[in-house]
Amino acid sequence: MPDNPRHLDELIQQCAQGREAALEELYRLSAPHLFAFAARILRQGDLAEEVLQESFLSIWRNASRFSAERSQAMTWMTHIVRNRCIDLLRRPGYERPDPDGAILEAWADEAAGPLDLLRDRQDSRRLADCMAQLESKQRMAIVLSFFDDLSHREIASRLSSPLGTIKSWVRRGMERLKRCLS
């Protein structure tokens, strides 16, 4: 993944002009990340494929609505993927396998791995620095809430703390993050 967010912006703009080669390159660069993200949320590979396919059709058809001034390319695409995942989770009868603990493991300790990945990229360096300033339990509560879309009760049992406490970790963590980011 080249560390140049502008490049993704340009590709989306070219998609808006109907250039299929631009969509292909956009897919090549971003699909592995978006696919991993969808599979993380849904915990089912085949459904993640469905989401990825629909999301890229949506990206292709709505490329002209993308505004580089307003959103970053990856944020815009992630938004499309995440909302489709959340819709799927709401399907009646949808059964979601239990989380595998990968997020908990990756972000444990001082979260060196994930934060280094963020620092390596120009667009996410600031987020990495601000995440690093959070208390580890706040950081953990936020990423579990974000990736595993857990109910607070689930998070509570996994972090062995009461529900009310976890809620305040997520909220205080987000407030501190906001102060740091703005």
Partner: protein, 231 residues
Amino acid sequence: MKTYADPLLRARLAADYVSGAMRGGARRRFEGLMAADASLRHQVREWENDLYLLVWTIPPRTPPSRVWRAISKQIHQKVPVRIRNWSWGLGGIYLWRSCSAVLAAALLAIVVIQPMRENRSAQPQQVAVLQSSQGQALLIIRADASGTMYVNTLESLTKMADGHALELWSMPPGGKPISLGLVATNGLTRLTIPQSASNMKKLGISLEPPGGSPSGLPTGPVVMTGDVLLS
């Protein structure tokens, strides 16, 4: 609606929504609020721009090549993507279901008044409330900037449909109606706006045979209509 004027509460709700801490019915109610509130959408978008970068921390995973093949094939066919109605079940959207015509009218008022006070740079959203010929509000529709349309029933339309499909149309003044897809008789339907219908002024629902109009134009009676407003 007064409660939601509190800036601290608004900031917290936006953060909860993006962090994933807000779930289920609360999430859907918040999406309803966002539909009529550009500054709330702006706050959410700012959070998304910051927090969604977390996606880079997940180890990438190459999707099977069949996914790209399917995408490429669908693009070449140049046919509209199959519209799917994801029914969201019975729970959760009680805000909309219990929403009276009065509240729908209040929502309309907010939609009309809001743009005067809002950040002009915020992404426009389109909102419509569809009413029966007797003036009863039956559907609330919003379309976001990604071209997705969310159709919420305000009450069950099963009886009205009476075995027919409810087909949603963009009805350009003096032009031919453009089908936007089929709408579930109960709950929420999510549709993708076709490119051909990007400029929507007026929407309507007609009763059609199961599966939708065979001719591509309304064949049954139009049972509700509404104007599209920018919020």
